[in-house]
Symmetry: C2
Subunit: 102 residues, 2 copies
DNA sequence: TAAACTGGTTTGTAATACAAACTAGTTTGC
DNA sequence: GCAAACTAGTTTGTATTACAAACCAGTTTA
């Protein structure tokens, strides 16, 4: 397994951005997560989180379901199959390029 | 070694950007590199490379020496001590967060 | 019934990545 | 000898972005 460093230029930008990387990493550890949980966990402002979730949704990586908990809105997010795959590949690339052995 | 995922938000953005991550990774494999070598190796346009090198220099991560090879300009770049350290830490973080074990 | 709160989205703005256009000097062709 | 083409970069213009402040629709509290 050789490192063609140029592969670094092809990193998936939808995932690579730190805030989204954090969101996706969190989502990869749970079955699903609601908006406020993600906000607390990631430490993002609502506006910022909302924007990043929209990007991830547009990329097809996160599925967003709007429902209600009692009378209040509830936004539930989960990684799609495609999102899981993309994240797995991103991790593989990163570990490959960043590990010292090689 | 526990993963506090929030650490992902603190990734060094001077390094994290893909083009710069590529540049820094290349520089970490050589003692020094001139502008055109970096351009070929990284596959960046001159303008883009120039801008990224300036950023890395401003961050104190790359030292840029302008000299001449014969009569033509020669720009030689190398990682500073601080740059090497920052890159090592970046890699550590990334491997820590992206490895599946844990 | 108005004020404050909840769970978000939209909007404005500053920073960024990028390539095209430019610059300063050099070599080549005629 | 001088214009045209080339070298090695830098600066400038633009489109995209990340981000938080302002906003919004509905709900609870006073």
């Amino acid at each position: 397994m050789t490192k063609d460093l140029r592969g670094l230029a092809d990193l998936d930008r939808a995932i690579h951005e730190p805030a989204r990387l954090l969101i996706v990493t969190i989502l990869s550890t749970v079955e699903s997560a609601d908006f406020l949980f993600l906000q607390r966990e990631a430490g993002l402002t609502k506006g910022n989180l909302s924007a990043h979730l929209t990007k991830l949704e547009e990329a097809g990586y996160v599925e967003i379901k709007k429902t209600f908990k009692g009378k209040l809105p509830l936004t539930v997010c989960k990684l799609t199959k495609s999102g899981s795959k993309a994240f797995a590949q991103y991790r593989q690339q990163m570990v490959k390029f960043m590990s010292t052995t090689g």
